[in-house]
């Protein structure tokens, strides 16, 4: 599993597309018409050359994982809002610390959900596909915050936690 932790050198097509979307520059056809932006499953499919069966398996894994992550997502937002309110109200340091801890617990729960989902996805890959270090690295970073918008397959506009 060291392949997970290696920093890949090659940037695959999907990375370029995601990058263009993030930066807001590029990702456009020369005519000025926006090029279609691939969703996350399409990125994984391109990155690992997934077959149809793998594609379906991953979709099922992620749909289930999204459902499991939704309550965490709501708590994540709620606890961060509570922290914001505590700061705005100039609450004592102990109150702010308690709000920080409450949020950290939810952040950990979300990371746990993401990690479990990614491990399941990785298991659907063949050993050869898992040797794609750059691809595994892409997936690792792509999965952070993947459940934040409630729709794992849609690339959000840069939200993280």
């Amino acid at each position: 599993m060291n392949r997970f932790i290696g920093v890949g050198l090659a940037l695959c097509l999907s990375i370029g597309v995601v990058s263009a979307q993030r930066g807001g520059g590029g990702g456009r056809a020369p005519s000025g018409v926006s090029a279609p932006i691939p969703n996350r499953l399409e990125i994984l499919t391109m990155t690992f050359t997934l077959d149809k069966n793998q594609n379906n398996q991953i979709k099922a894994i992620m749909d289930t994982a999204q459902k499991g992550a939704d309550p965490i997502r709501q708590q994540l937002t709620a606890t961060y809002a509570a922290l914001a309110a505590a700061i705005q109200a100039s609450k004592p340091a102990a109150d702010i610390e308690a709000a920080v801890k409450a949020y950290a617990v939810q952040a950990t729960a979300m990371v746990n959900a993401e990690t479990k989902a990614l491990a399941q996805v990785a298991k659907t890959l063949t050993p050869t596909q898992r040797e794609n270090i750059a691809g595994m690295d892409t997936a690792f970073y792509m999965f952070h915050g993947i459940f934040l918008n409630g729709k794992w397959n849609i690339i959000p506009d840069g939200k993280t936690y």
């Binding site: 599993m1 997970f4 932790i5 920093v7 890949g8 940037l11 990375i15 370029g16 995601v18 990058s19 993030r22 807001g24 994540l76 937002t77 961060y80 809002a81 922290l83 914001a84 309110a85 700061i87 705005q88 100039s90 702010i96 610390e97 709000a99 920080v100 801890k101 949020y103 950290a104 617990v105 952040a107 950990t108 990371v111 746990n112 993401e114 990690t115 479990k116 990614l118 491990a119 990785a122 298991k123 690295d137 892409t138 690792f140 970073y141 792509m142 952070h144 915050g145 934040l148 959000p156 840069g158 939200k159 993280t160 936690y161």
Partner: protein, 155 residues
């Protein structure tokens, strides 16, 4: 008289074109894109006096956050390795470490805003709750180019 009319005729299309494009000719402020710009926008910080102070504060805090961010990424990688290897019993202590690291990072984000409050005017202080969501993940290291979400913002 003819000269005045000629000048008027030559200038009119320019003025109309400017109106049509919603521009007075002066450069328009661009919409906020980065989390910092969103924070500046939400709080209505004064560009000349408050933004430089805020930048200084955020830069100092970012230096403190860098190592915490790296620690969080490393813990996620460890979790993934354990999950993949189905060593689920070993995940619990890593999760505990992650919670501690996340608390440090969130504490830093909160501390940044507590310090920011000192340079805010009373009417700006009332806008903190709307600006703070853009702090989420602000100090986490950026993923290698194009490999993840841009930082900032849990709304």
């Amino acid at each position: 008289m003819f000269r005045k009319l000629l000048i008027l005729a030559l200038c009119t299309p320019v003025a109309l074109a400017a109106q049509a494009s919603g521009s007075s000719g002066a450069p328009e402020p661009s919409a906020p894109t980065t989390p910092f710009e969103h924070i500046v926008d939400k709080l209505g910080l004064d560009v000349k006096t408050q933004v430089p102070e805020a930048e200084k504060l955020f830069n100092a805090q970012a230096r403190l956050g860098a190592s915490i961010g790296v620690e969080m990424v490393n813990l996620r990688k460890k979790m993934l390795d354990l999950e993949f290897a189905e060593k689920t019993a070993d995940v619990a202590p890593v999760l505990e470490s992650y919670t501690a690291a996340a608390a440090k990072m969130t504490g830093l984000e909160a501390d940044t805003f507590v310090k920011l409050m000192a340079i805010l005017k009373p009417n700006q202080q009332g806008k903190v709750a709307k600006a703070f969501p853009y702090m989420a993940g602000f100090f986490k290291p950026q993923p290698p180019r194009g490999r993840g979400p841009r930082r900032g913002g849990v709304e």
